[in-house]
């Protein structure tokens, strides 16, 4: 039985604003999972707090909506305990690059086998429009009334510096392309970042669908660009102006994931191993350590 997009349909109607970029992400994700023939129970979506982080409620799949900024450690714990699950993190730019920034760095260093989808609307949506880590300089919000004065986070550059093994950027307005990127990310063994440009039609009146459409181009279509060159990726990471690249910036394959390197997991996932009383020999060995 092949799985289909509709298998991932939730009974809950999204509360997102009409036109919100999150619809595109939701649909692309369903499509990617269906294309890979995954079923809802094989997937665990972990999210945080924010508009985008409500996604797991709007999709049929195992879901855990945690607290703001802590998506990656929760996802990591779940993956380490049951590495047979496809664990997909999905959260906003504030959640992922802001309050959760350190977990982001650490998860990349570990090469945890997770997909990390960032709903990057360059603003705090759910709290009604404050500037976010990816807001551009000068972006006026309620907490930056004279315009943001911090350099915007560059997730691609950071990911390169931190050793991520799969680094991509998608656009919520380009469903097939995004679905394709997500499928690649899910298939990648190791940490996979998919930063998704996600228009917020309410609080970000600068980086709109049109604004992006006028600037975006696909790396796949860029003459001579391949995702295996760290230096080239580093250069592309800073391209954010008249032209903005989407697609796969960088990928290294074949590196061991964190889970691969844990001896206790070689015999199967922790959850599969189940629980059993210690054998008398084990008990004796434990006691003997202290005799």
């Amino acid at each position: 039985m092949m799985s289909e997009v509709k298998d991932f349909a939730s009974p809950v109607r999204p509360t997102w604003c009409p036109g919100c970029g999150n619809f595109g992400i939701l649909n692309a994700l369903k499509r990617a999972l269906a294309n890979l023939d995954l079923e809802p129970h094989q997937v665990l979506l972990v999210s945080g707090i924010g508009c985008g982080s409500k996604l797991p409620d709007y999709m049929k799949a195992n879901g855990f909506m945690g607290i703001h900024g802590r998506v990656l450690p929760i996802a990591t714990g779940a993956k380490l305990a049951n590495h047979e699950l496809k664990v997909i993190a999905v959260h906003g730019d504030g959640d992922g690059y802001g309050i959760g920034g350190n977990h982001f760095l650490y998860t990349m260093r570990r090469n945890m086998d997770l997909v990390d989808i960032i709903q990057n609307n360059q603003v705090y949506g759910l709290t009604k429009g404050q500037y976010s880590p990816t807001s551009e300089r000068g972006f006026v919000t309620k907490t930056s009334p004279e315009g943001a004065i911090e350099l915007a986070v560059n997730p691609i550059a950071l990911a390169l510096a931190a050793g991520a093994t799969f680094i991509a950027r998608g656009f919520a307005g380009e469903l097939p392309h995004l679905a394709q990127l997500l499928a690649q990310a899910i298939e990648h063994r190791g940490y996979a970042l998919v930063d998704v440009l996600q228009p917020c039609v309410i609080f970000n009146r600068v980086n709109t669908y049109d604004w992006f459409r006028a600037r975006l181009y696909k790396l796949e279509e860029e003459e001579g660009y391949g995702p295996s060159n760290r230096e080239a990726a580093w250069e592309k990471a800073f391209e954010w102006g008249d032209r903005i690249p989407i697609g796969l910036f960088y990928q290294v394959e074949g590196l061991p994931t964190y889970e691969d390197q844990l001896p206790a997991l070689r015999v199967g996932s922790l959850v599969k191993q189940g629980l059993r009383p210690l054998t008398p020999e084990e008990v004796e060995a434990l006691k003997q350590e202290f005799v």
Binding site: P11, V12, E39, P40, H41, Q42, L44, V46, I49, K54, P56, D57, K60, A61, N62, G63, F64, M65, G66, I67, R70, P73, I74, A75, T76, G77, A78, K79, L80, A81, N82, E84, L85, N102, H103, L105, Y106, L262, P263, A264, L265, V267, L270, V271, Q273, L275, R276, P277, L278, E282, V283, L286, K287, F290, V291
Partner: protein, 579 residues
């Protein structure tokens, strides 16, 4: 001549191996069939300063150190200055022969000086000055007439990893010290003699907890180092592979608790361990576990606060904090073991309780309990009776048979909703820290909120039934009833014992389970007591306040200590007298 009843104290600076040799000596005594209590005291620095290790030894089971020192092993001159007052008349001090001017002062106080060529033995026989500690132990064993055999076996075990030459040199140092004492010293009142008993374990609270946890199937530990909890994650790290566990040293305590939540959510028995500062960082996620009904075990090994406080010392200052940590209200269970046996049991019980009631279980330790060594019979840790009870956890087979929609947060009378862990096609659901309905979806409906809150809180009522009532130690009828919780068990028990021996009528109520409790029972116990005295290692008497909150009864007196040092029976007795 006093046999098998004395206290050693080893003093020196960090880097001189005070702790390792103290612990080793304690083990050697236990291997000779003696009971020991080992108290560790060290400063928050890696080298220098002043540390000590105190070993009380006796033929009967003991639960605490006492203040009087009978033999001081001074690894540097400062150790004599620091501890001379504690040495009893007739006691002795072992020190390096090169130090001048000690002898007269000691004799003036009736203390026997035992100068010995510690440094020379260490350097000549061992090749390293740091082996002075081994030399001093050798001297101490020789002086007290203790068998050399158990000591040799401990040296062999402890240094094996460092190679045969290190073992051999240490053995030579110890032996030379031992012989030196036997040949040179003749008058000392305290003697030790090995006796025949079954094997004993020498273990501290942290490790006892670890054994219980492993026995009950702990599978996942994520933690960030923090004194005095660190030895839990370190022990788990070295045992992870063999016992099918993952131990993850995380980027911080927030990640530590969150990883444990993630692991627990998908079905692994998961825990984290920290001290107050790290627990502070876990507070937000603790509430998440409460809201998502995730079974989670958290060890909070207290040290003196606020803030960094005294990093390597002891206090019981976090009880109220632990009880109320995180915004809002949700069920949590709190265990506060008082002995290594109770630590083992707490390790074994915590995961069952967490899974049965689907909520966080917090095990409260402190530096004193976490690090003090006690000798116990091997049977004292009853692994065979450890049952793994996962509560209402639906198996794959249960789920295969499921006819209706699966409601992860079903309203039930017990408040416990049968749990399925993510990965079964018939139990695909969402969990959230938002208010949610029975299925798990986010809702803002006031009636559902109220019902869900009531459902969750009902679990406390069910759990209450299996929580351990406070335990009475000592005579049923007494003039004074001491009240304590957690780690003070040992010192209070010993104080009570001593007082009753003197003809006083004193007993003691020990709280090892803190939350939830049958408060009516506590109220009755308080009612029966004549004068009640809370003994707590904190500033305000937090347990006394708790008792007042839930029974209305005010404790008559509080003996409080908050200088970072543990109670001793002597301290308690002294403070009981001054009214």
């Amino acid at each position: 001549m006093i046999k098998n009843d004395m206290t050693f104290k080893i003093g020196g600076e960090a880097g001189q191996g005070v702790e390792s040799s103290g612990a080793g000596f304690a083990q050697a005594l236990a291997r000779g069939g003696l009971h020991i209590f080992g108290l560790q005291d060290y400063m928050s620095r890696i080298r220098g300063g002043h540390n000590f290790y105190q070993i009380r030894v006796k033929e009967e089971d003991i639960y605490s150190h006492t203040d009087a020192v009978h033999l001081l092993l001074a690894l540097n001159p400062q150790a004599i200055k620091e501890h001379i007052e504690e040495v009893v008349e007739g006691g002795g001090i072992i020190y390096d022969e090169s130090w001048q001017g000690e002898k007269r002062e000691l004799e003036g106080r009736g203390i026997v000086p035992f100068p010995a060529p510690l440094k020379r033995i260490a350097e000549e026989e061992g090749g390293r000055k740091v082996m002075m500690n081994t030399a001093a132990l050798g001297v101490a064993a020789g002086l007290t007439g203790y068998d050399f055999e158990p000591m040799a076996s401990v040296i062999e075990d402890n240094f094996r990893k460092k190679g045969a030459s290190v073992v051999e040199r240490n053995l030579k140092v110890a032996e030379t010290g031992y012989r030196f004492a036997q040949e040179n010293y003749h008058r000392f009142d305290y003697r030790l003699e090995a006796i025949e008993v079954p094997e004993r374990m020498v273990i501290n609270g942290n490790h006892a907890f670890c054994l219980g946890a492993v026995a009950s199937g702990c599978r996942f530990v994520s933690a960030y180092p923090m004194t005095p909890a660190t030895s839990i994650m370190e022990w788990m790290a070295t045992h992870a592979q063999r016992y099918g566990m993952v131990m993850k040293h995380t980027e911080d305590e927030i990640a530590a608790i969150c990883m444990a939540i993630g692991a627990a959510h998908v079905g692994a028995r998961a825990m984290t361990a920290t001290s107050g500062g790290g627990f502070s960082l876990m507070v937000e996620a603790l509430g998440l576990a409460g809201m998502t009904e995730t079974p989670l075990v958290v060890v909070e090994a207290q040290r003196p606060g606020p803030s960094t406080g005294l990093a390597t010392r002891t206090e019981q200052g976090d009880l109220r904090f632990i009880l109320h940590a995180s915004q809002g209200e949700f069920p949590r269970l709190i265990l506060a073991p008082g002995t290594v046996e109770e630590c083992f049991q707490a390790g074994a019980r915590a995961f069952n309780l967490a899974e049965k009631y689907q909520c966080p279980v917090i095990v409260v330790l402190d530096n004193f309990l976490a690090n003090s060594l006690r000798a116990v019979d091997k049977e004292a840790f009853d692994f065979a009776s450890v049952e793994i009870d996962r509560g209402e956890l639906l198996t794959s087979e249960d789920l295969d048979r499921l006819e209706s929609r699966y409601n992860r947060f079903q309203f039930t009378e017990s408040g416990i909703s049968p749990r399925a862990v993510s990965s079964h096609p018939k139990a695909v659901y969402v969990s959230t820290g938002n208010v949610h309905d029975e299925e798990g979806h986010i809702t803002e409906e006031p009636t559902i909120r109220t019902k869900m809150m009531n459902k969750k809180m009902r679990k406390l009522e069910v759990a209450r039934r299996e929580m351990r009532e406070p335990e009475l130690y000592g005579p049923k009828e007494a003039d004074i009833t001491l009240l304590g919780w957690g780690s003070t068990y040992g010192p209070i028990r010993e104080a009570v014992k001593a007082l009753n021996k003197e003809g006083r009528k004193v007993n003691f109520i020990h709280f090892m389970d803190i939350w939830p409790l049958h408060w009516e029972e506590v109220a009755e116990m308080m009612e029966r007591a004549k004068q009640t005295v809370a003994v707590e290692n904190n500033y305000s008497g937090q347990m006394a306040d708790l008792i007042r909150t839930y029974t209305g009864r005010e404790v008559d007196k509080r003996i409080l200590r908050y200088d970072g040092r543990p109670f001793s029976p002597d301290y308690i007795i002294a403070h009981l007298e001054v009214q």
